[in-house]
């Protein structure tokens, strides 16, 4: 198979594309059901996110008169493409290693910022004042959580690099290989500060309670998403589903890529995502209330930042 075709398949089918979307929507379904059960509700069917998406594709997209049409429609599309690309950049431990031609951890890091940027663009392009507030909130939150996540990536890169007797590595493939040979970072106490910082980062990146500040329904009516409907809203749903797969997958690659080879490895990978989703998303979001943006900003510049700095120090020294 020529390499260009393999690249295309990795972005469009597996592990990006169809696979990432399907997995993301399935995870979302489990999350909604689990959260409902934790709140003593019955909850929707597990397939509900798929039904929602199908319903949205059959509706009309309303575009506000004051909206900037190109950006309004282009933003969600860019978000989905970025996330599918990012999913193809992530190794599936034991089954798939991304081609170096696609990029390394740095590229992935920038792609991870795209959904937030896209939401900001969408919010300001929609011409709604709530979108504008969502814009400023999303930006503040992003500024707050980006620094810790960079440091977490640096900590893991340094740890791997030092372990292999060279400088920092930015190749996720190498990081996964190293851990599969020498034991997962999850079991190494020196990496725990970085792990904790990551655990604080991903709810903010996924935009769930207590960090669903930019899209808070009871405050700014879902902010940037307020004016969206139909297929364009469906694209945002696809983006957030794929983003869940990317962010959870990144966490697994950075800290716990152990498992069997081949297809069983894929099953174990998906199970790990499910576990992380259940504990890190469902349980978290039913057990807390929303923070105000200033509180969240202060929180990220305190705990996760300190933990991430400690993580880098521990990775170098230990």
């Amino acid at each position: 198979m020529p390499e260009s075709l393999a690249l295309l398949l990795s972005v469009a089918v597996f592990p990006g594309g169809v696979f990432a979307l399907g997995l993301g929507l399935a995870l979302k379904g489990v999350d909604r059901r689990l959260a409902a059960r934790l709140q003593r509700r019955v909850g929707p069917p597990l397939m509900q996110p798929f039904f929602d998406l199908v319903k949205l594709t059959r509706k009309r997209t309303m575009i506000p008169d004051v909206a900037c049409r190109a950006v309004f429609l282009g933003a969600p599309l860019a978000g989905v493409v970025a996330m599918l690309l990012a999913a193809a950049l992530l190794p599936v431990p034991g089954l798939y290693e991304p081609s170096p031609a696609l990029g390394d951890l740095l590229v992935l890091f920038y792609l991870l910022a795209v959904p937030a940027v896209v939401l900001m663009l969408a919010g300001s392009a929609s011409g709604s004042p709530f979108g504008a507030i969502g814009f400023s909130r999303e930006m503040m939150l992003m500024l707050a959580y980006e620094i810790p996540i960079v440091l977490v990536i640096v900590a893991v890169g340094l740890k791997t690099g030092i372990g292999r007797g060279e400088g920092m590595t930015l190749s996720l493939t190498e990081i996964v290989r190293y851990q599969r040979a020498h034991g997962a970072f999850l079991l190494d106490p020196a990496m725990w500060p970085a792990l904790l910082a990551f655990l604080a980062f991903f709810p903010a990146n996924l935009g769930i309670v207590p960090f669903d500040i930019a899209e808070a329904e009871t405050e700014v009516l879902e902010g940037p998403l307020l004016e969206y409907s139909g297929p364009a809203l469906g694209l945002f749903k696809m983006m957030s589903a794929a983003k869940a797969v990317v962010v959870l997958g990144l966490g697994i690659c950075l800290f716990f890529p152990s498992g069997p080879d081949g297809l069983p490895g894929l099953a174990v990978h998906a199970l790990k995502m499910l576990a992380l989703m259940a504990v890190g998303v469902s349980v978290l979001r039913v057990s807390a209330g929303r923070m105000r943006i200033d509180q969240a900003f202060g929180f990220f510049l305190k705990w996760p930042l300190a933990l991430a700095v400690a993580g880098v120090a521990a990775a170098v020294l230990a």
């Binding site: 934790l38 709140q39 003593r40 509700r41 004042p129 709530f130 504008a132 507030i133 400023s136 909130r137 309670v209 207590p210 669903d212 500040i213 808070a216 329904e217 009871t218 405050e219 700014v220 009516l221 039913v286 057990s287 807390a288 209330g289 929303r290 923070m291 105000r292 943006i293 200033d294 509180q295």
Partner: protein, 360 residues
Amino acid sequence: MSTFTIPVGPLHVALEEPMYFKVEVEGETVRNVEITAGHVHRGVEYLTTKRTIFQNITLTERICSLCSNSHPEAYCMAIEQIAGIAVSERAESLRVMASEIKRIASHLFNVAILAHLVGFDTLFMQVMETREIVQDLKETLFGNRMDIGANCIGGVRFDLDSKGLSYLAAQLLRLEPQLDEIVRHYRTNTSILRRTRGVGVLDRAAAVDCAVVGPVARASGIAYDVRTKAPYSAYDKLDVPVHTLEDGDVWSRALVRLAEAKTAIDVLRQCAAHLPEGPTGPRERPDVPAGQAIAKCEAPRGELIYYVRTDGSRCPERVKWRVPSFMNWDALRVMLADAKVADISLIVSSIDPCISCTER
């Protein structure tokens, strides 16, 4: 930084009823608020003069669902004054019981909404589940979950036998520990505390200036409660403590409501323990002569005043009421000054605004 205007309402997910706040914000901070009302004006006051005195009991009950017992209660008290009807002791106690049951449900509803507004939906579900005990109680005793139709002129339309009383006691026994748990959550949960302490503060002086009533006044340190200041029905025979807090913030208002729900359980038990024997209401419809009267009662949201004037005909000549939310929503200007955008809905909901009462 320049300011821009955001519309909160008239239709807004965080407002249960239509009200329009034109909020000028500078970044995340509120600079000016304009309150526009009148979206659910239905002309009920006019309508009362087109219905007979007895039909109006049903009509006033439908002004608002959460205070649906207080409106007919005050209306009936006013008519009874005009007609000089004495209500039996048993009926008075039963009236107190109906209004206290409604009070628990109303307060729990508002406190639940607070949890929903800070994004803590689990607590919202828990409080609503607890409220369901009270809803079951209403449905069993009165046959309806919201509009309980308890009052008539000269008494009440329901009676409690030993079966009803034992069901009431059992439900209160179920309710009490759950309510205690809810109070504990609101006192200690970080998610609640960090969003509600020091938010939407109305200090005592401002509260006096705005003449706020009900839990809003009591959370600002004003111990004003119609049930103790001007006891009506059986309240003069009951021990009703008035709960006040000094901070005047969103949290204090929620805590006062929870404390009052706890007290309501106690009041219900006092009533049930000493329920006098006697008739519950008059056998026949009394004649209502020409005259005028004012009656007031403590609705869940505060002091509710009814003025009724009759001319001896079948219909009242004028019915006018002043609802607690009318007094309280002016204080929103004070509470919303320099608030954060994130807190607007929280502050508005903390006065428990009843738009349909106020705009009728």
